[in-house]
C-alpha cells in the first residue's frame, strides 16, 4: 500500500524532510518559549502530525487553497507561509503574517493559498468549498483542501460541506486529521462511527484512511484524491490516523492520557522517525544530508525567535486599520 520512498525523487524527499523538520522544530521551540512565559494567547502545537500537512500539501501549488484549523502552524509552513513572519505573528508583532492582529489561531496568507487557521471548529469546510467553487469557475484546475480535526468533524458546518461538495461536484479533499483526541476527550467517545471513511460514504463521497504517521502513505493517497479532484472527478475524504505530541494547548496537563501513552507515541508513532528510517534504510538519503537539514532548520527557527522577540509591537494607529477596504 505504502509507496516506496524510491518512488519519489530525492530532491522532493529532501524537501519534504526539510518541511517536516521545520514544523517540528518550530513547534518544539514554541513549547519551550511558551513555558518561559512571554508568549501571549492560546497556542496549539502540531508536533507529531507533520506527515499529514506535508504529505498532502506537497501536491499543491500556490494556486491551490487550503483552509486550516486552530492547530494550523504545520499547514501554514507546508503551504509556504514565511516562517519568520509566522513567528512574529505568534508574538503579536509588526511584520507578522497578520501584522500581529491575528496571532497563532489566525495565521493566513491568501497569496500562498492559505485561507487561514481558524478559531472556530469546522468553519474551514464551507470556506474551502468556496475556494473549490472559485477554482471551478476560474478553470485552471486548482483544488482546495480542508483540514479538520476528528472532534471538529462533528460540526454541522463540516457535515453540510460534505454534501455540498458532492452536490456541486467540487474539486476538494476533506482531510480528517484524527489524532485521537478532541481536547481532553477521546475520539472513541465523541465520534460514534468507526471510520471517517464510513461517514464519507454516508454523503456519497469516496473515502480513504491512511496511517498519518507514514509520510509516504499519506503522500501517495493524497496524490490520488487530489488528482481526481483536479480532473473533475469530484470531492473525497481522507482520514489521517496520527498522534499529537503535546497537550491540546500549551499548559494542558494531559491527565486524559493513559499510562505510558506519551512515551509510546514518541517512541513508536513519530512520523519523523519513520521518515528517517525509511529514507536511510533504502539509502535514498544519507544521515549527513539529513543532519545538514536539521542544522539549517535549527538555525532558522533560532533566528525566527530572536527576530520575533526583537520586532516592534503594533502602534495605536494600527488598531483602527484593516477593518474594511472602504467605509
Amino acid at each position: 500500500m505504502t509507496s516506496h520512498p524510491l518512488a519519489l525523487d530525492p530532491a522532493a524527499i529532501l524537501q519534504a524532510y526539510r518541511t517536516m523538520r521545520t514544523i517540528r522544530e518550530f513547534e518544539e521551540r514554541l513549547h519551550v518559549e511558551f513555558a518561559a512565559g512571554d508568549m501571549p494567547g492560546f497556542v496549539h502545537l502540531y508536533a507529531g502530525e507533520e506527515a499529514s500537512a506535508v504529505g498532502i500539501i506537497s501536491h499543491l501549488t500556490d494556486a491551490d487553497r487550503i483552509a486550516s484549523t486552530h492547530r494550523g502552524h504545520g499547514h501554514c509552513i507546508a503551504k509556504g507561509v514565511d516562517v519568520m513572519a509566522m513567528m512574529k505573528e505568534i508574538y503579536g508583532r509588526k511584520g507578522g503574517s497578520c501584522q500581529g492582529k491575528g496571532g497563532s489561531m489566525h495565521i493566513a496568507d491568501i497569496d500562498k493559498g492559505m485561507l487561514g487557521a481558524n478559531g472556530i471548529l469546522g468553519a474551514g469546510a464551507p470556506l474551502a468549498c468556496g475556494a473549490a467553487l472559485a477554482a471551478k469557475y476560474q478553470g485552471k484546475g486548482a483544488v482546495a483542501i480542508n483540514f479538520v480535526g476528528d472532534g471538529a468533524s462533528n460540526q454541522g458546518t463540516f457535515l453540510e460541506s460534505l454534501n455540498l461538495a458532492a452536490v456541486w461536484n467540487l474539486p476538494i479533499v476533506f482531510v480528517v486529521e484524527n489524532n485521537g483526541y478532541a481536547e481532553a476527550t477521546s475520539r472513541n467517545y465523541g465520534v460514534a462511527v468507526d471510520s471517517f471513511v464510513d461517514r464519507a460514504a454516508g454523503f456519497g463521497l469516496p473515502g480513504i484512511a491512511v496511517d498519518g504517521t507514514d509520510f509516504f502513505a499519506v503522500h501517495e493517497a493524497a496524490g490520488e484524491v487530489i488528482r481526481r479532484a483536479r480532473e473533475g472527478g469530484g470531492p473525497s475524504l481522507m482520514e489521517c490516523r496520527m498522534v499529537r505530541f503535546y497537550g491540546h494547548f500549551e499548559g494542558d496537563a494531559q491527565g486524559y492520557r493513559g499510562p505510558g501513552e506519551l512515551e509510546d507515541i514518541r517512541a513508536n508513532r513519530d512520523c519523523l522517525k519513520h521518515f528517517v528510517a525509511a529514507v536511510t534504510t533504502t539509502g535514498v538519503l544519507g544521515a549527513a544530508a539529513l543532519a545538514a537539514v536539521d542544522a539549517e532548520v535549527a538555525a532558522l527557527i533560532d533566528r525566527a525567535v530572536i527576530e520575533a522577540k526583537a520586532a516592534p509591537h503594533p502602534v495605536a494607529a494600527d488598531l483602527l486599520t484593516d477593518v474594511y477596504v472602504s467605509y
Binding site: 487553497r65 483552509a67 507578522g96 503574517s97 497578520c98 501584522q99 500581529g100 492582529k101 491575528g102 489566525h106 493566513a108 496568507d109 491568501i110 497569496d111 485561507l115 487561514g116 481558524n118 478559531g119 472556530i120 468553519a123 469546510a125 464551507p126 470556506l127 474551502a128 468549498c129 468556496g130 475556494a131 467553487l133 472559485a134 477554482a135 469557475y137 476560474q138 482546495a144 454541522g156 458546518t157 453540510e160 460541506s161 454534501n163 455540498l164 452536490v167 456541486w168 486599520t321 484593516d322 477593518v323 474594511y324 477596504v325 472602504s326 467605509y327
Partner: protein, 338 residues
C-alpha cells in the same frame, strides 16, 4: 423616462446588469432557480418570491441552487469571495442567520482584520427582512441591529426601487461583506428606476422629506410609515423632516446631526426589537454629539420587546405605524408653539 419598476424587478435588474458586466459575479441560494433534478421546468421558481426569475436563462450555471445547508453555501460564497469571485448568497429569510451566523460574523467580517489587511471578502448576502407578512416569529424579524453591531460588516436596507437597484449594484461592486436586507412587504411597491446601471454610495442617507420642526430617522418599510406620519402632522402645521438611512453600517451621522442641529428634535423609528437596536444607536450617538442642540427628549418608536406574533391583528399592533410615529413627534414638540 419615467420607467417604473417594483423593488422585486429593480433587484433582478441590478443582479442582471452586474452579472453581465462582471463574470466574477455568481449567485447561490435555495431555489433561486428551481426545478433541478426533477422532470419539470427549470427556473420555475426564481427564489421563494420570484426575485431572481429569468436570470438562469441568461447566466446558466453562474446561478447555483443549493442543498438546504446555509452554513455550507453562505460559507462557500464567503470562501469564493476571498478567492477572487464576487458571490451573492441568498439567505431566504434573515431569520435563518441563526444556522450560519458564524460564517458571517466570525469569518467574513473578521478576515481582513485578523489577517492584517491582506484579505478582501466581496460577498453580498441578500435576505428578506421584516414583519407584516403574517409569517410569524421565525420569518418576520429585522435583526439589522445584530449585523450592524458587528465590525467588518456593512448593512444595507433600501426602502424604494431606485435605491434597491443602486444600493445592490454598489453592494456587488463593494469589496467588503454586505448584508442586504430586502423588506418582504415592499417587493411590490413601484417607483421610477433608470435603465442604465448606477451605484449609490454607502453611508449617504437620503432626506426624503424636508422639514424644520422635528427630524424623523428611519429605514426600510418604516420610511413609508414615517412619511405617512409626516403627512398627518402637516395638517397640524408640524413640519417633520424624514431621513431614510439607506445604510445602517456605515451610518451617515453627518446628515442626521445636521438635521437635528436645525430641528432640535429627533424621533428614531426602528422596526427591529427595541433593546440595543438602530434607534438606540442613533439616539445615543446624537445625544453624545449634539446634546446642546436638543430641545426635547429623543423619542424612539419601535415594536415592544416581544417576538413577532402570527395573528394579523396583533402583528398590526406590534408594528410601529404612522399614528405612533406622529404621537412621538408631537411629544418632542410639547410646550413648543408653532
Amino acid at each position: 423616462m419615467a420607467r417604473k419598476l417594483s423593488i422585486r424587478q429593480a433587484i433582478n435588474e441590478a443582479i442582471d446588469q452586474e452579472m453581465s458586466r462582471d463574470p466574477r459575479v455568481i449567485m447561490m441560494g435555495e431555489d433561486i432557480v428551481g426545478g433541478h433534478g426533477s422532470e419539470g421546468e427549470i427556473d420555475c421558481w426564481g427564489g421563494a418570491l420570484g426575485v431572481t426569475k429569468g436570470l438562469y436563462g441568461k447566466y446558466g450555471d453562474r446561478l447555483l441552487d443549493t442543498p438546504l445547508s446555509e452554513s455550507a453555501y453562505v460559507g462557500a460564497a464567503i470562501g469564493a469571495a476571498v478567492c477572487g469571485m464576487r458571490p451573492i448568497a441568498e439567505l431566504q429569510f434573515i431569520d435563518f442567520m441563526g444556522v450560519c451566523f458564524d460564517q458571517i460574523y466570525n469569518q467574513a467580517a473578521k478576515f481582513r482584520y485578523m489577517f492584517g489587511g491582506k484579505a478582501q471578502t466581496p460577498v453580498v448576502i441578500r435576505a428578506m427582512i421584516g414583519a407584516g407578512f403574517r409569517a410569524a416569529a421565525q420569518h418576520s424579524q429585522m435583526l439589522t441591529p445584530i449585523f450592524t453591531h458587528i465590525p467588518g460588516l456593512k448593512v444595507v436596507c433600501p426602502s424604494n426601487p431606485y435605491d434597491a437597484k443602486g444600493l445592490l449594484i454598489q453592494a456587488i461592486r463593494d469589496n467588503d461583506p454586505v448584508i442586504f436586507g430586502e423588506h418582504k412587504v415592499l417587493y411590490g411597491i413601484e417607483g421610477e428606476v433608470p435603465e442604465a446601471s448606477y451605484a449609490i454610495p454607502f453611508g449617504e442617507a437620503n432626506i426624503v422629506r424636508d422639514g424644520d420642526d422635528c427630524t424623523i430617522v428611519t429605514y426600510g418599510m418604516m420610511v413609508h410609515r414615517a412619511l405617512e406620519a409626516a403627512a398627518l402632522l402637516e395638517k397640524e402645521g408640524i413640519d417633520a423632516e424624514v431621513i431614510d438611512l439607506r445604510t445602517l453600517s456605515p451610518l451617515d451621522m453627518d446628515t442626521i446631526l445636521e438635521s437635528v442641529e436645525r430641528t432640535g428634535r429627533l424621533v428614531c423609528v426602528d422596526e427591529a426589537s427595541p433593546r440595543c437596536n438602530i434607534a438606540t444607536d442613533i439616539s445615543a450617538q446624537v445625544v453624545q454629539a449634539a446634546f446642546a442642540a436638543l430641545q426635547a427628549p429623543i423619542m424612539m418608536v419601535t415594536p415592544p420587546h416581544v417576538p413577532v406574533p402570527f395573528s394579523p391583528v396583533l402583528e398590526d399592533i406590534y408594528l410601529p405605524d404612522s399614528t405612533k410615529i406622529a404621537a412621538a413627534v408631537r411629544r418632542t414638540l410639547e410646550g413648543k408653539r408653532h
